[in-house]
Each structure stands twice: as C-alpha cells, then as structure tokens.
Symmetry: C2
Subunit: 453 residues, 2 copies
Amino acid sequence: MNSKKYLLQESDIPTAWYNIVADMDVKPRPIINPATRQPLTAEDLFPLFSEEAARQEMNTVDPWITIPEPVRDMYRIWRPTPLVRAIGLERALDTPAKIFFKNESVSPVGSHKLNSAIPQAFYCKEQGVTNVTTETGAGQWGAALALACRSFGLDLAVYMVKISYNQKPYRRSIMQTYGAEVIASPSMSTKAGRKIITDHPNYQGSLGTAISEAVELAMSTPNCKYALGSVLNHVSLHQTVIGLEAEKQMAMADAYPDVVIACFGGGSNFSGIAYPFLRHNLKDGAKTRFIAAEPAACPKLTRGKFVYDFGDEAGYTPMIPMYSLGHDFAPANIHAGGLRYHGAGSVVSELRNQGLVDAVDIAQLEAFDAAVLFAKAEGIIPAPESSHAIAATIREAIRAKEESTSPTILFNLSGHGLIDMASYDRYLAGDLADYTVDEAVIEANTQSLTQVK
Amino acid sequence: MNSKKYLLQESDIPTAWYNIVADMDVKPRPIINPATRQPLTAEDLFPLFSEEAARQEMNTVDPWITIPEPVRDMYRIWRPTPLVRAIGLERALDTPAKIFFKNESVSPVGSHKLNSAIPQAFYCKEQGVTNVTTETGAGQWGAALALACRSFGLDLAVYMVKISYNQKPYRRSIMQTYGAEVIASPSMSTKAGRKIITDHPNYQGSLGTAISEAVELAMSTPNCKYALGSVLNHVSLHQTVIGLEAEKQMAMADAYPDVVIACFGGGSNFSGIAYPFLRHNLKDGAKTRFIAAEPAACPKLTRGKFVYDFGDEAGYTPMIPMYSLGHDFAPANIHAGGLRYHGAGSVVSELRNQGLVDAVDIAQLEAFDAAVLFAKAEGIIPAPESSHAIAATIREAIRAKEESTSPTILFNLSGHGLIDMASYDRYLAGDLADYTVDEAVIEANTQSLTQVK
C-alpha cells in the first residue's frame, strides 16, 4: 500500500458551482405543479425552500453560480479533499487500469453531504428563517445538516427512517450531539406519518415517507423551511465542488478519466463528481463514460421507468420527470440506507435518457466484498453506499485486465463506514443476504404514472 | 465557525523522529530487569519486541532517528494532518486566548495511533517476523495496528479489554475488517487470563491484564513479537511527527504556544505533541507549559506515586520507574477507555519529577461537557479521551479571560468520537457519573513498591 495523494491548497476551493443544465442542448423536462399542471416556477417553491435554493433549482441559464464567501469559509473546515491514486487496490486486483478516488470521507461528519448542507443552511439564515426540517435515510444527510444548522444558529428537526433510527443509533446520536431533534419516521407527529402507521403498523419507513413528514412539518410551522439532501438540481450543483477539485487534481497527476463512477441514491454524490467532467463531453463529444452504481434492491436508473412521479411517498411534492420504481416502492432493508430511494432527479434522468450516463446494479454481498477488499488495500473502511462505487470500479478494472486495456478510472468515495460497523459485523458473520426486485413489482408500481415522452 | 486551517505539503512530513532522552541533562532512571536487578539492555528486549524497536527504546544518545522511507510512504495516506485555529471555540468561550489544535483525527482509523503502529509493524516485517500480538483498551491502538499489520502482511492477535469488547463492538469490527483476530481479555487462552478469571469471575478487564495476555502469547508463539501502543519511549518518539509538524504550522500562523495540552493515558499523544516543543525549553529555558490532562478516575501523574512498578497486571514486564497508581489498580469503567492505565512511562515520569511537565485531572462529566461544546463550535465530535484535553484547554481559556491575558494554547485532538457515539448517547441521556479515587486506595496499591529516589 503506497497510494499517492494529490493535494490542493485552500485557495483551490472552487469559487463557483457548476450548473450543468445551462450547458445541456436538450434541457430536462420541466417539473410539473400538480395543481395547475403547468411547469413549476421558482416562486412555486418559495413556501418550501429558501428563495435562493428555489431560484438555483429553476436556473437553466447560468453555468456558474458564485459560492458565497461564508460558505467557502465553512468549506475550509475540511476542503479541499484529497484525490488518491489507489495503487494498493490496483495491486490487489493485478489490473492494468489506473484507479483514482476522490476522498469525500474526510469531512467532520464523514461524507460529502456537508457540501450542500452548508449553503442550504446559509441561504435559510440569510433570509431570516429560524427553523429547518429534513429527512434522513442512513443519517449522513441529517448529520451534515445538523452541523450546518448549528453553525448558522438554526433549529433543525430531522425525520429519520425508522429502520435506520433503530439500526444506526450512532448517527442519531451525532445529530443530537449537534443539537438537532430527531424523530423516527413514520411518526405520529404528521398526517402522512399517522396514515401510514395506521395502514401498515409495522412499516419500517422509507426516504419517501420521511420526506412527506418533513415537508408537512415545514409547511405547517411558522418561519420554517425544508431542506433536501439529494435528487434536486440545486443540491447536485452544490456537490460539483467534488468534481471541480478532482479535475484540477487529475491534471496534477497528468491524467484524465476514461470512466467516472459513483454510487447512486438520489444522485447527489454522482452529480457532484460527474457533471464537471460531463461538461467536456457536452462540449467536445464523448470521451468519458459515467456509471451510476445502484443497489440491486433499488435499481431505478438500471431498471426503472421514465415517468412523471412524486418525490415522496404521500404525494406532497411536484411531479418530477424521473426514472422511478414508483413513489410507493418499498425497498428491501439493505445496509446502504442512503441508496434506498425510489427515483432519480430530473437532470440525471434526462442525461440517462439521452444516453450520456450509464448505470449498473450491484448486489449487497458484492458491495461488501468490494468494501473489505478496499479496506485492506487502501486502509479506509468505506460506507456501505460508497462500496457500490468500489464494486463497479472493480468490475471495470477486472474487465480491463481481461481485455488488456489500461483505462483511467475515477470513483467518488462519498463517505467512510466507521459509523456502519454493525453492518460489517453482520457481513463478516455471514448474515447478509442479496435482494433483487421483481419486474412485476416495478410494473405494478409505475403503471398508473404518466410516461415521459 | 470560521476556523482557519494551516496545511503542509507531503514533503513536510518529518524525515526523522525526535528522541527527547538524548537532550535531557538528567536522564530517566533505567528500567530494571527484575531477574538480575540490573538496568535493562536492548538485548533483554529482543525476545519481546522487534530488535529495532528495542534499540530505539534504549537509545539515550541520538536526538534524531531517521524515519524509514516505507513508513513515510504510509504516513502519506493521511499525513501531514491539519493545524486548526479554533476560532469557533474561542468565540463560544469569549476568551482572549488564542486556541490552536492539531487534528490527528483525520487518519483512516480516526486517531494518532497509526503513527507508531506503522513503524512497529514495519520493523517486525523487516526482521522476518510473521505474527504480532498486542492489547487494546478502547480499540484505537488495536485498529491502528490491525491496519498496519495488514499492510505489511503480518498476522495480528489483539487482546481487547472485555468492557470495551462488549461496549464498543464497532472498534472490534474495524479490527476484524482489517483481518485481525480479536480476543476479549481476560480470556482463558493464557495463564494470566485464566488466573484472573478464576480469582475474579466478573472482572471486566484492564489494559494491565490485556498486556499480560498479549506478552504471554508473544513469548510462547514461534516468530511472534509484541507491540505496545503507548508508555514506552520508542512509541513516544514515533508520535513526535505530531509536534514536529505542529511546530512548522504554528510558524505559518506566526505563533508559538505558551501552553501545550494533551490527554494522558500511557503518554503517546502527549509525548507526540509536547516533546518537540519541550526540546526548546530544555535548550533555552522554560517558555512553554505542558499539561497532561488525565481522567479523575485514573490520575497517575496528578496523584500517583513515583515508584518502580510493572507495566502490566501480572508482572511479566520489567520494573519501570513510573508515576503509578499500582499495577493492580482497577480503574472505574469510564468511557475514555484509552486513559484507563495505571502508570506513566519512564521519560514523562522523569520530566514530571523535574517539574518540566504539569498534570490536571478532569472528571468524566466535565470532559463530555467540553466535548459537546467543541462539537458545536468546531464541527468535529471528539473522542472521549481527547475531550480531556479540550476540558483542560477550556479551563486555561476561561482563566485567561478572568486574568485578562491572551496566551496561545495548543492542544492535540488525538481522535474523533464517531465510533464512541454510544457514550455520547448515555451522556445526553444524563446517565453518566463522575468517579474519583480514594487516597487510601492509591496508598494501598503502591505501598509495597520501591519508591524512586
């Protein structure tokens, strides 16, 4: 193991986020306001999100959006993050491929989620908001927003998917240590929660349900906004600091990726690493492949339908043109809780529709096999979510060996797994299973939805 | 929170460790071979440690010891670590003191322990050793050595203090993920373990007992060496990379510490940050104060006796001239498991004896109060051990405000607490208690030991 790091200076932290929509010839289909059946406007979103987040969401014009100085200031806590040439992993695989990874696990909450939590909290603060709500699956996003809200003096309530609330108590404690209120979802504190508990008393929750609860609380609480950790365009663009830094660092290594890989839940870390490189494909024609690594238990980009669907389980959100398994799809209880979301955002869905983005689905055991191999080879124990990106990388590296090619592969290590060791424990004990999804279930969950033409 | 980081380049990773013994006018008293009653030689240690570690342990001549290139290569995985001006904490305390911390929590195992695990594993490998044993308290050292042994292809068996084995399953899983064997101590696998289980069936273990078991296994296994994570001089000198980097970084900030603070278990992180600065005190006279922050439940430097004592519970080790609470002292089950050790090493004990090092004892609740304040102010959740250093720093910062002085304080953040959230949970629930030690217990445990004259 003598992998090489490529380090930037604080002055290299990007000064603007990249908004890929501005560079797309064929724009994503508009999100639809279900009340008017008309394309959503930024103003439609003002009751829910901070005004600046809403404006960024609808911005199809400006490719670069300036990062406010107080946000860059907080990025300095842990950014720039290292780019690593994974020589240990290359050796372990005996592959001619060159493997690089961007290490987003070095943030104080252990994942990339802070990249968007900070600006979202900042814009709320700027606007005089006092209270914020959100949902969290595995707890990575909730922990990041808890830290960001604490830093800007905002009160935060987090609906945490019940299975994670019980299986991942450490993540709950992290949010509470930063001063956030954490509620297991579904809960009796919202109409959406009460309904699903009444219908399904043993339901262990999903991101879709937790979003419904957080949105409902935000809409019924004075001076309160909602913040989302993935799926939407303003979140994705905040995450492009990952790829923009990586671009400079690949240049330091005198390299450019033939393949870019990231795990895919709602798309935040995937967009973050992919879009800055994808902009060169948009301008100069294809030179890099982009692979979204999904869990086989929740394969919306790989096997879902391109439909207009709700972002949440209860149907509170607008209709998003998305690759989806249906908003009431209940994913199996895999340990990569952050990937248990039914749909993909409108931007990545359109890119997928245009053939600019690929996807693969990875079984749970393959992901953990890859995780342990990586931990032994590179010293870092990856989050179960990130392990899907590692597994997809290993597939590419093995193929390179079989085909005697030497591609340059870049993947995003979105987070570390030190707070997920209970999952590793079960894996090491041989207690984990693989899950897949029946085609009939996908058909049944999506058949009533309008297809995107 | 807009704290400032001072970052070095990989080329700034030190090329040599600092051996403070060479610069001490009055050397530490020699460690005694109990069989011969003579001062120990390096050769006496060859059966137990790698030969190079044994030679470093006894080296009183060379102030600088070259870091082997394969070790520096592995240091590059996470070093150099950031130095941070803790402006968030300064504001939260409204103090005129300037507070800096060295952030050793950024290593892949979350603590400073890798700094010595890597060279110890390397020297074993160089010598053709195939098997290594060690003990671990909270699990920080065991996790670090598991990663280091994996990297050099060595098999590792870890005796983990039973209370931590049960209370901190995540740390156990980390070691197992890196491929180490982990045994709860006391165990039935050694004579020392069987004896104490027979005498005290419900004993929850201590570092002293776990050391006895690891030493016994090393001595009875072919081609096997033992590695220790603290206390001894060769461990302390490996850790000086912390202070040597910090010295350069303080210069970047145009500052020099008036006070240096670190938590104290066996002394590894304290020595690491303190000795490089203390060398200037030795040469130019006192300019910096050094404070070891101990738990009130295990206050050897604050309240122990300066005696010849064993390093382990069963009495397998040589007699070390140490500030000690007695080798059979059983510390209360505080959550800072890494600080539950009865004695201090011979070097720091001599420095304390000469008045060159101070110590304070911190109650468990004060440490957790400090930890949560720090997490909210600086974003990083500290390890329960490191929280003792933060509490001592806060005491100094409050005193500065009361006395209208503005000292520059540097403390070492030895590790993060993301794997210790169960402890935070209990603290937030109000379930933690304070512990102290009766003077009569210290007297009883040390009265049969020979005082150092």
